[in-house]
Symmetry: C2
Amino acid sequence: MQSVNLKRLAEELHLSIATVSRALQDSHEVSPATKERVRALATALDYQPNAYASSLRRNQSKTIGVVIPKVTNHFFALAINGIEEAARQAGFHVLIYLTHEEYEREVSIIQHLKGGRVDGILMSVASGTENTEHLRSLRIPVVFFDRICPDISTANVTTNDYESGYQATAHLIEAGCRTIAHLLLSSSLSIGRNRQQGYLDALVAHGLTPSPGLTLPGTPANDGPAGQVGRIRELLQRRPDIDGIFASVERLAVSAYHVCRELGRRIPEDVKIVGFSNLESVSLFDPPLTTITQPAYDIGREAAKILLRAVEKKRPILPTQSVVLASELVQRRSTMP
Amino acid sequence: MQSVNLKRLAEELHLSIATVSRALQDSHEVSPATKERVRALATALDYQPNAYASSLRRNQSKTIGVVIPKVTNHFFALAINGIEEAARQAGFHVLIYLTHEEYEREVSIIQHLKGGRVDGILMSVASGTENTEHLRSLRIPVVFFDRICPDISTANVTTNDYESGYQATAHLIEAGCRTIAHLLLSSSLSIGRNRQQGYLDALVAHGLTPSPGLTLPGTPANDGPAGQVGRIRELLQRRPDIDGIFASVERLAVSAYHVCRELGRRIPEDVKIVGFSNLESVSLFDPPLTTITQPAYDIGREAAKILLRAVEKKRPILPTQSVVLASELVQRRSTMP
DNA sequence: CTGTTAGCGCCTTCAG
DNA sequence: CTGAAGGCGCTAACAG
């Protein structure tokens, strides 16, 4: 090994390793003159402390793990952006893991993470996750964002899913819709359940009767876009009276939009659609949908901040630190020719 | 520390640490019976080897670093997806760093990475990067993807930028355009230069004269979307004879599309647009643009594979391993009403 | 203010 | 086949 380490610096400076180490950490028990000498040589030799040695010694890695279903989803991409920003400011590093919505991968990832590679975990659970045993035995802090895990007592950062579902549905009713479908991502996810409840309550509050047949339940694991589109088409053909659609997920909103057009139903004249969306291009696309935009960047940043605070102070996370950030309902008109 | 480590296992089994270590690595110099006993207890106690200790000892971290400008860009999101897949298959972990197109951040990130935290680096340089000194002194393998760094002799994974630029321009000329603008991301990036050259050569080959005024040079660092739109508007107003636009970047293609509509120019009747795109939703959006789609996932995966091969064999990377993957030109018709 | 010492948890010779 | 010993690079006591 010819890399520069403390030993090398110490030898060249005729100092002890300990003194060099302290000088580089700006300890107050090293003379300014020595500090200067050490720093000068360190920069001259382009010294970089070995991260693994100090992690091993200090028993903390200055690294957090981010476990999400996928990164090719603008919500998660924005969230990572916020996470990375908060981590960088705190001098932390970010390891990324994708579950692809598969329970097995999630378990295996969490298992790996128990090796002390990270000081804390930020997570959005996979849609296939029902059993939470793998998360229970974690000895490092976890913060859930967006898709939380109600079984685990920790901080969560979410959007106002219930209220958004209610708002979206009320919006459709007030726009004159009477038969409103709900396209759900997954009924096992917290966000799905909450949005569904908001949808149901809004119907009842406005004197409409919820019908189970109008809620398209979540996709079975990795059904794929084709399957989703097929099921939406089937629903719209079975219920030609549908005049409003609340889509819990962006992809479903856009799919519904295309299926409607394919079936010759005009939007928004025949069918009105409200959907969640974080895709930047929707504002460019400008489809005649009303969108609910989640503050994805802030969710990521806030979740990271909470986690980092806990990690730095080596304190467990209080469930009371949970934060709910509000989504924004934006009504769009098509500006298409 | 009450965590389970080799010492703990050794004590409970009345074996030495060395034997336990060997057993867990399936060494052929441990009796099958002992191996079984060790493995049983290891799984019973949920033993996970400390990643930092073994990294320190083995002098490799089983981690690669990914340094990219941003993650909120479908191209990079897809690339990360491919990278993560290749890394996972090889048992590697993925650290992510975002430069936000800023040179200073890129330097600081690379500096951090010299601490041995990663075994190799995958990188797409920031648009602001001109000086490559920080990359020169790296002692670990690097593979560039998409936005390469010609000064550094290593493997690169790119798309056929020159050919794409040529093809796109030729496509417009063959569709009848005579005054074709080129909206460039950055003339200091390899991809920008190559696409620009393809654009110029296609014009000349078809008997048209390139005019410097028709190429909108790259944005000054972080100009922001507003500035971009303003400069596109200014260009289109100054040159009302423009009847074709080749956009080097997706965002610019969509911006151009909207500016044209704002100025009352019909697409594709008055102005035809060809643009790079990896945004999934463009296929949903279905705008009347012709798009060039890059195999982003494959680029990421291929780059990661090359890097991992070098890292695992502890061999330097041969520049000859570079790979060029082909983009696909897809012509779209608007299906809007 | 500086040096000596003792590990963090793991792997790898070298002995038996 | 198994055990003992040393050290990866760094930090944190404890001495002087």
